[in-house]
Amino acid sequence: MVVSGSAIEDTARRRERHRLLSVGARCAIPVYLLLATGFLAPLVAIIGFSFATPRGYDAFRTFTLANYATIFDPANTVWTSFARSLVLAGLTVAILAVLAYPIAYGLARVFGRWSGLVSLLFVFPLFVSENIRLYGWVLFFIKGGVLDGTLNALGLPGGPDLLFTPAATLFGMVYVYLPFMLFPMTLGLSMVPNDLIEAGRDMGASRLQIWREIELPLAMPGILIGMLLTFVLAVGAVAESKVLGGQSIIVITHDIEIAFTYAQNWPLGSALAVLLMLVVGVLTFAGIAGLDLDRILGRR
């Protein structure tokens, strides 16, 4: 806040601030109500169900660790789904970090007046549901599809059989989560002041040095948010493995869904979901606890 000169202005401002304080809190009430009833309560319900009798529906009335015991039973192979999801999410983050960096850099410093249009082109796919887009890839890669058909028409042997493999699942995840890496990264890179880079260049720093010593550390908050967001979304992703992966790979959310639907074992599904929530929650809290959101979003 600006420090004002005269004492009268100062008290006026203080009174204003005092009044605003309550206005701000009041403005937050609807959002808080929504989060309490639509986000917190369902999570509490899931935690309650995870301690209920297996295959039962009596949450909060019974307490048993049987569901967790089932999951941690050495004979149970559900941990492999967990491991697959974690590995896929990790790979997605690593690939996207490399893939999105040049585009984020372009949006922040190169594209100038075109950056609005370029951003829009990357935002728009978010408005098309992911299964439509993933199914488009199925039509692209399938035998007799766009790729295979084009190669055949050119007299080449048909396209490779990429569909319904773990690699196709990974490809789908990289494809779907690109915007979630790109935009936080762009915010981060826009926070790097131009003068600092020019000063570094004037003092004879090489491009690599400028990147390593100035650009990367200053853009890090944004890059980390992008990586975190991509990871937590990818670890719970399921459409990619179902549509593009053809269920050649079973991810953890698929197991949770089966427990909730076909198996009708809500307590087991809840216990699995709680473990997934732990991973997501711990990472998210660690990731965003120290962030200065005013600085990142408001560039103040």
Partner: protein, 266 residues
């Protein structure tokens, strides 16, 4: 030095254009597939026709899907804009004691896998004894969309100068007048883009709808059911229609905003 920098700029442009082409490749692929006459997709398409589009347009079932999706998106937009507007004021405009914590709590639903959130909501609705329908799905959408729209509006509100409001108060305007005459006109572009996000994100949402619509069906859900069992060219046809509808909304909204802005600056 200068020339080298320009060379790398060109590389960045080339890479970005390539990635954009890849991003739109499956959307184009679906479009091509919807224009084939045959029951099964073969590329190159032997005979182009709008037959499957026509069938989709004539289908009463699909008209019902569109109505459901539209109803949901409209209601989500209405509620999300109001809640998120105040949410964004609390986020970026006012300085209050709990603000730092609030800013982070708002992010939590965004940092959460949507399929898991959908299942958690399904369980919660069941525990409450709520009958699932498109209305319960609207609530599910709001849990995710309100935080997103809050952020979209907050980013624009950071640029808002509170001195303008203070000046209006000093001139004797009431709180309602200030909101109507000063705050809303300045924040209008942010509200407009927030509304767009709300509408289009709800329109395209699949994971939350899947578990929370009950007997009602939204467009993405129907498409998914057909993808898993029983492909017909109606699937890419309807998918392309939904995509074109989203693009049309975006274009019209952009034009309206431009028009308004031009009128505001005589």
């Amino acid at each position: 030095m200068e020339r080298r920098a320009r060379g790398s700029d060109r590389l960045i442009w080339a890479w970005t254009i390539f990635v954009i082409l890849v991003v739109y490749a499956p959307i184009a692929g679906g479009f091509l597939a919807s224009l084939g006459k045959s029951r099964y997709f073969r590329f190159p398409v032997a005979q182009y026709s709008f037959e499957w589009w026509q069938r989709a347009i004539d289908s009463l079932e699909i008209a019902q899907l569109f109505r459901t999706s539209l109803k949901m998106a409209a209601l989500v937009t209405l509620v999300a804009v109001v809640v998120a507007f105040f949410g964004a004021l609390a986020y970026a405009r006012y300085d209050w004691t709990g603000r730092r914590l609030y800013q982070k709590l708002v992010l939590l639903p965004i940092f959460f896998p949507q399929p898991v959130m959908g299942l958690a909501l399904l369980l919660w609705f069941n525990a409450l004894g709520v009958t699932l329908s498109w209305q319960s799905a609207v609530f599910a959408h709001l849990v995710w969309i309100v935080p997103v729209v809050t952020l979209v509006m907050a980013i624009q509100m950071y640029g808002f100068d509170p001195a303008l409001e203070e000046a209006a108060y000093d001139l004797g305007a009431s709180r309602g007048q200030v909101l109507r005459e000063v705050t809303l006109p300045i924040l209008w572009p942010g509200i407009w883009s927030g509304a767009l996000f709300a509408f289009l994100l709800s329109w395209g949402n699949f994971p939350l709808s899947l578990y929370t619509t009950g007997p009602d069906t939204a467009v993405p859900e129907w498409l998914y059911a057909k993808m898993v069992a029983g492909y017909t060219p109606m699937v890419p046809a309807l998918g392309s229609m939904a995509t074109i509808a989203a693009a049309a909304v975006l274009v019209v909204a952009g034009l309206l905003l431009r028009l308004r802005r031009r009128r505001a600056e005589p």
